[in-house]
């Protein structure tokens, strides 16, 4: 069986493929082209993979999210309950930046003239207060058609509780327009309350629908030309995959299609090295993306904003919890009006890029600091594709950071790195400690162009003892896509006190949720033995709003099922929020079921490595600056020349095509059987305080 994964990024289109019969693992990279499908064709051609023999094609792309950010969606209409067409524009009425007198709000994706109301009303309990006026629905749909809409979103009040009117409206839209119009129905996408967030989600789905659909259609055409006859899947924001046909109906689920693959691969490779708790650390040119894997599972969050909360659009769907902060290689370092040194969030991007790229960038960036400290090799960046100019870096850091602060230039460069590393450590802390997890129980898996360069310092800041740098860290998202299962999620909002819940009834509700998913997995070609489910309930104390999601691993019929649930909830609440009540009533708020189709995973094992120490072939030696010791001679290795089992001792630099790994004095590394470089991080040096004192002495 052959599986092919392709991941379209802003600059490159990556491919990873695996043939389970021969065990062959193929990777390739091509430039992303303006007509995106061409890049996909190119990379498949380059990889010489036989698509006709492939069973699965898995695809990740940024088309959905870019359509929103670039505002390139279609003219979209909204049909909603009488009295509520402005929910989309009013949003939640909050001012994100509290003291900003001139704050702005983003224009709604559907202008008011295209938001039309119909007569109907459902109550919070799902009962019908006013019946649907079907004649009016048809009239409004014709109005929208007359105004040239290409997509219609339908979101009615309390449809999460009873979708009957939404379903009927959708049918009437079809009746009036046929297949000419893309229809997006809120209750098909999510069954949760909060009308603004649900409306916004349905609208986003409609807005990107036709464009994503056309893209997937054209990609299917290309695949057909290659002779591919297997299942084509798209990566979802929640870490699973979905069939092209479903993605065409619910493209909103693919918004975060890109970064998720990396998290999946990070989890997998760490697990192979024996680690179940992972901080996935993906640092690229503009941002660092962090996500958490706990006990082998990713953390999922509900709801986020496309384009940021201040100027973006709300999306209420489960997404692999990725915290993104403005700290990448291209992040700009500057001294602000208060005289303090700030890093990011603005970035020099790829063009013009950091000053050292010599492409016209003249602002000091994190990469300039890395270069000046000797971490980056000016002659081997992107495998030598680009020659970097340390002189340029020196000039901009001297002028823009060192002089205004009265620091010596190397100190200024080190300060830039130190602050960027601290920001990232804070972000990790926010994801771990705040949720009651101790970062010391995690390993840091680093990838992306700048990740391996900063990983060890970030880990040390958090007392994380182990850093994993995967092989192929430059195309990890594509690798991750080979490691996913098909996944569909179902939620049922149902508020009931835990004390009066009947396990047998919960069982029926769970089964009801799962049945539909089962059918869909079967029709996507999964045999019964390859379909598995995961259940969870959302619980809270009566009176609270937010819930904690409790996985349900034991059968509902097991002895003391409800009591155990309560006990586990109390423990988790104590862990997360520092208090718990023994006697307070608990409420079940929702039942959740995931239905997954198991796909065979590639074996990324590269064979046994020798148990003895393998000396690594030293490639070069250069001066590199480290905290506490200044510039010292440092061994330099090439990643592709490190045999499995190779041991290296810091200070050391490991270079490959896509990134540069830095080991500080005292750190040690070994290459494991999957080709991952496993670094044991030396504890924080006792002389760090002295180092701080030393820095202090510089300016005072």
């Amino acid at each position: 069986m052959i599986r092919i994964a392709t991941d379209v990024g802003g600059t490159f289109t990556d491919l990873a493929a695996y043939d389970s019969e021969t065990g062959e693992f193929i990777i390739a990279k091509a430039s992303t082209t303006p007509e995106v499908v061409n890049g996909v064709s190119d990379v498949m051609h380059k990889a010489r993979v036989d698509a006709a023999k492939a069973d699965y094609f898995i695809h990740g792309s940024t088309i959905a999210i870019n359509t929103v950010i670039e505002k390139k969606g279609v003219v979209t209409g909204l049909i909603t309950t009488r009295g509520f067409r402005d929910v989309l524009e009013i949003a939640r009425g909050n001012i994100v930046n509290s003291f900003d007198l001139l704050f702005t709000t983003p224009p709604p994706l559907v202008p008011r003239r295209l938001r039309l109301e119909i007569d109907e009303r459902i109550r919070a309990d799902g009962s019908i207060l006013r019946p649907l006026d079907e004649a009016e629905v048809k009239a409004r749909v014709r109005d929208l058609m007359g105004q040239g809409v290409k997509a219609i979103a339908v979101c009615l009040l309390h449809a999460y509780a009873n979708p009957v009117h939404e379903k009927r409206v959708a049918a009437l839209v079809r009746e009036v327009c046929g297949e000419a119009i893309f229809v997006s129905v809120s209750s098909d996408i999510l069954r949760e309350y909060r009308e603004f967030e649900r409306t916004s989600t349905a609208v986003l789905n409609a807005y990107v629908g036709p464009r994503v659909g056309a893209y997937l259609h054209s990609l299917q055409g290309r695949l057909a030309e290659t002779g591919f006859r297997g299942s084509a899947m798209v990566m979802q924001s929640n870490g699973g995959t979905m069939a092209f046909e479903l993605a065409k109906v619910q493209p909103v689920r693919t918004m975060e299609s890109g970064p998720v693959g990396g998290t999946v691969a990070a989890a997998h490779l760490a697990a192979k090295a024996g680690y179940r708790n992972v901080v996935a650390f993906d640092m690229g040119g503009t941002t660092a993306k962090l996500s958490l894997v706990r006990d082998g599972n990713f953390e999922i969050s509900e709801g986020y904003w496309i384009g940021g909360e201040e100027h973006g659009y709300a999306l209420q769907l489960p997404v692999v919890d990725v915290v993104e902060i403005g700290a990448g290689g291209g992040s700009i370092a500057r001294v602000d009006e208060m005289g303090s040194l700030k890093i990011g969030p603005t970035s020099a991007g790829a063009v013009p890029g950091p000053a050292c790229y010599g492409k016209g960038g003249n602002l000091a960036t994190v990469s300039d600091a890395d270069l000046l400290l000797g971490r980056l090799n000016p002659d081997y960046f992107l495998g030598g594709e680009l020659t970097l100019s340390p002189q340029k870096s020196f000039e901009v850091i001297a002028a823009q950071v060192a002089q205004p602060l009265g620091l010596e230039v190397m100190r200024a460069a080190f300060g830039i790195i130190k602050i960027a590393d601290t920001h990232m450590a804070h972000a990790v802390r926010l994801m771990t400690v705040e949720k009651g997890h101790d970062p010391r129980d995690f390993v840091l898996v680093a990838y992306g162009g700048a990740g391996p360069c900063h990983a060890v310092a970030v880990a040390r800041e958090l007392n994380i003892g182990t850093v994993v740098i995967p092989a192929n860290s430059g195309i990890l998202s594509a690798v991750g896509m080979l490691l996913t299962d098909a996944k569909e999620e179902f939620v049922l909002s149902r508020i009931c006190a835990l004390d009066v819940a009947v396990p047998a009834e919960l069982e029926l509700l769970f089964q009801e949720l799962e049945t539909d998913g089962f059918r869909r997995m079967q029709s996507a070609g999964f045999g019964s033995s390859d379909i598995y489910t995961r259940r969870a309930v959302e619980l809270r104390y009566t009176g609270q709003e937010f819930t904690l999601r409790m996985p349900v691993t034991e059968p509902t019929s097991s002895e003391g099922f409800l009591g155990n649930l309560r006990k586990r909830f109390s423990e988790l609440h104590e862990l997360r929020y520092g208090h718990a009540f023994d006697k307070a009533t608990l409420e079940i708020v929702a039942l959740r079921a995931e239905v997954c189709g198991r796909l065979e995973k590639p074996k990324l094992d590269m064979g046994p490595h020798s148990t003895g120490k393998v000396a690594a072939p030293e490639y070069d030696n250069r001066q590199v600056y480290f905290e506490g010791c200044g510039k010292v001679p440092c061994r330099v290795y090439r990643r592709d020349r490190l045999a499995l089992g190779s041991h290296i001792t810091g200070p050391a630099i490991v270079e490959d095509m896509a990134s540069t790994t830095v080991l500080h004095p005292g750190d040690t590394g070994v290459v494991d059987s999957h080709g991952s470089l496993i670094i044991t991080v030396a504890p924080e040096a006792p002389n760090t305080a002295a180092e701080h004192g030393e820095i202090l002495a510089v300016t005072t």
Partner: protein, 577 residues
């Protein structure tokens, strides 16, 4: 101070405040906290100075926090405070805000002495008093408004003071919710404490102290620089609120003097209304200091974290007995109702000096209508805060944003209708933009909202809005926004809902709340005709308003009559000359 260490320490403190914010928000029990986010957190130093405060919460909860904490510590006696103590206070004498706003804080003890306090101030759902949710119209003394908690220990050396908890629970209509929120406050302040101690362990107390002081100095420099960009001079503006809450015919004058002298600003409330009979009063810290600091920060350092240094170039003058410095036992329930009008009036005073930085007036009110009752079926009290985002003023170079809460409420969120209906016996019939409510202008003022609801049982409703007579003003020739108004609707007949009275809303009777719009900016006749037409097509303005306010004539199909428009716009131009 080394800039790198400085940045690391200060960004750490800000990150801890965010962490406390999230912890409290996600584990809280009252919708006022988890949904509306009516709370704030912060670190206060031993002297009561602000080290840092949460960024994404409620501005009016932070300006005076340091004074409240310092006074509570003085009451108990600093030497009596031990490790593991947690203190609670809503003392109106110091706080000068309504009694729901309750501060919980934990002392950070380092090297045997108090170094700082980790604080969470939140809105408790109900602390007793005349009506459900506390306070209430008609109150003329604080004693009618609920339980006054002078500084007391909720925990002593790590042990909960159950007697105090029980006392508080006895005095609220919602004991479970209030206890839950107090616990969430305790947990979040302990979290802040832990983080702060970790930072001390890493850098040492002395270094952190230096970093904090340096951050104050930096904020002060930024604020001074911003003030010095305003031309020196004395500025004045005035406006008024409808009435004092008791006597319908007694308007409340809002007069604000601002003096800019080089790098320093004085906001002088000496001529503002005396304290009133009703509940619109506030104390010196919760009122004058708080609102003065909010408007000052908006004008000087809007994007910087809020700390003591931000406010150093600011002097606030407000004699005792004024509405912002009321003498005990003044009623305080509506403590912040005056704020939007004061903020807008201060900005109006400076609008000629800061032409490009000041928007036209907002709707000038932070509230809508409040429904409360007792549900016989569930044997429980309930309250419904009708969502009330409203109009903001047009910007000097842009139309106003969509309806939002008032500036002093910041990141406060409106309640989703689906949540309100799930938890209460209420049906909303409308939650819409209010057509023609935005002030006309070259840049259009923001629209208010139009909300209508009814209950399926009898209940009480009160109109909480206090600005229906002095309209939200435009700037630079822009028109006024519509004022705030509320009605009851019985069988299609509308009657005004007066703010001084509780109205018994019969089952099925409608309550309708229309929030005001924001003022316009610039001459409406300068607004391009196609933009006026767009506004008409979208129903932001009516065809009649397009003609009367903007001089743009169009038919029912929104086709502009070019000639009639030219004539109408010229006529106005000639009249102006």
């Amino acid at each position: 101070m080394d800039p790198i260490t400085l940045e690391i320490i200060n960004s750490s403190l800000a990150a801890y405040a965010d962490e406390m914010t999230n912890s409290f928000w996600r584990s809280s029990y009252s919708y006022m906290n988890y949904e509306v986010r009516d709370f704030a957190v912060g670190f206060i130093d031993r002297e009561g100075r602000i080290i840092t405060q949460s960024r994404y919460t409620h501005p009016a909860f932070t300006g005076d926090l340091g004074y409240v904490v310092k006074a509570a510590v003085d009451d108990i006696g600093e030497s009596n405070i031990s490790q593991g103590d947690i203190i609670v206070t809503n003392d109106p004498v110091v706080q000068g805000q309504h009694l729901n706003n309750t501060v919980v804080f934990a002392p950070l003890i380092c090297d045997g002495r108090i170094f700082a306090y980790s604080c969470v101030r939140a809105h408790l759902h109900d602390v007793g008093g005349a009506t459900v949710g506390s306070g209430g119209p008609g109150a003329t003394e604080i004693f009618q408004e609920g339980l006054q908690i002078s500084a007391s220990r909720l925990y002593r050396k790590g042990v909960a003071n159950e007697e105090l908890y029980r006392l508080i629970e006895r005095n609220t209509r919602f004991p479970e919710i209030v206890r839950g929120d107090l616990n969430a406050q305790v947990a979040a302040s302990k979290l802040g404490l832990r983080r702060f101690l970790e930072l001390i362990e890493k850098f040492g107390r002395a270094t952190i102290e230096k970093a904090v002081m340096a951050s104050w100095d930096m904020a002060e420099r930024a604020a001074r620089k911003a003030v010095s960009a305003i031309p020196s001079g004395r500025y004045y503006a005035e406006s008024f609120l409808d009435n004092d809450g008791i006597d319908l015919e007694k308007p409340v004058p809002i007069r604000v003097h601002v003096e800019i002298k080089g790098e320093e600003m004085t906001i002088d409330f000496s001529d503002i209304s005396d304290q009133v009979k009703g509940a619109m009063n506030s104390g010196y810290y919760g009122g004058a200091t708080n609102v003065g600091r909010i408007v000052f920060k908006c004008l000087t350092t809007p994007r910087l974290p809020s700390n003591e240094g931000c406010f150093r170039p600011l002097t606030i003058i407000c004699p005792e007995g004024k509405i912002l410095n009321a003498r005990r036992p003044a009623a305080l329930y509506e403590w912040s109702v005056t704020f939007p009008t004061i903020i807008d009036t201060t900005l109006k005073a400076l609008s000629n000096a800061l032409v490009s930085r000041v928007p036209a007036a907002t709707r000038g009110d932070p509230r809508g209508a409040w429904i409360s009752g007792f549900n016989e079926a569930t044997r429980k009290y309930f309250t419904i805060n009708i969502p009330h985002p409203g109009g903001h003023g047009a910007r000097p170079t842009a139309d106003a944003p969509s309806p939002k809460c008032s500036i002093q409420q910041g990141n406060e969120h409106g309640l989703p209708i689906e949540i309100v209906e799930t938890k209460n016996p209420v049906i909303f019939e409308r939650y819409a933009l209010r057509e023609d409510s935005g002030g006309a202008g070259r840049y259009r003022g923001g629209l208010g909202t139009d909300v209508m609801a009814y209950l399926e049982l009898d209940c009480d409703v009160r109109n909480q809005m206090s600005r229906s007579k002095c309209p939200p003003w435009g700037l630079d020739g822009g028109g006024n926004g519509a004022t705030n108004i509320a009605f009851t609707v019985d069988k299609g007949r509308e009657s005004p809902l007066l703010r001084t009275k509780i109205h018994r809303l019969a089952s099925g009777e409608r309550v309708r709340v229309l929030t005001g719009g924001g003022g316009g900016h610039g001459d409406p006749f300068d607004r391009p005709a196609d933009k006026v037409r767009d506004d008409a097509v979208d129903g932001y303005i009516s065809i009649a308003a397009a003609r009367d306010c903007y001089g743009v004539v169009m038919n029912q199909k929104f086709e502009i009559d070019e000639q009639a428009t030219a004539t109408s716009r010229n006529k106005r131009g000639e009249a102006a000359q």
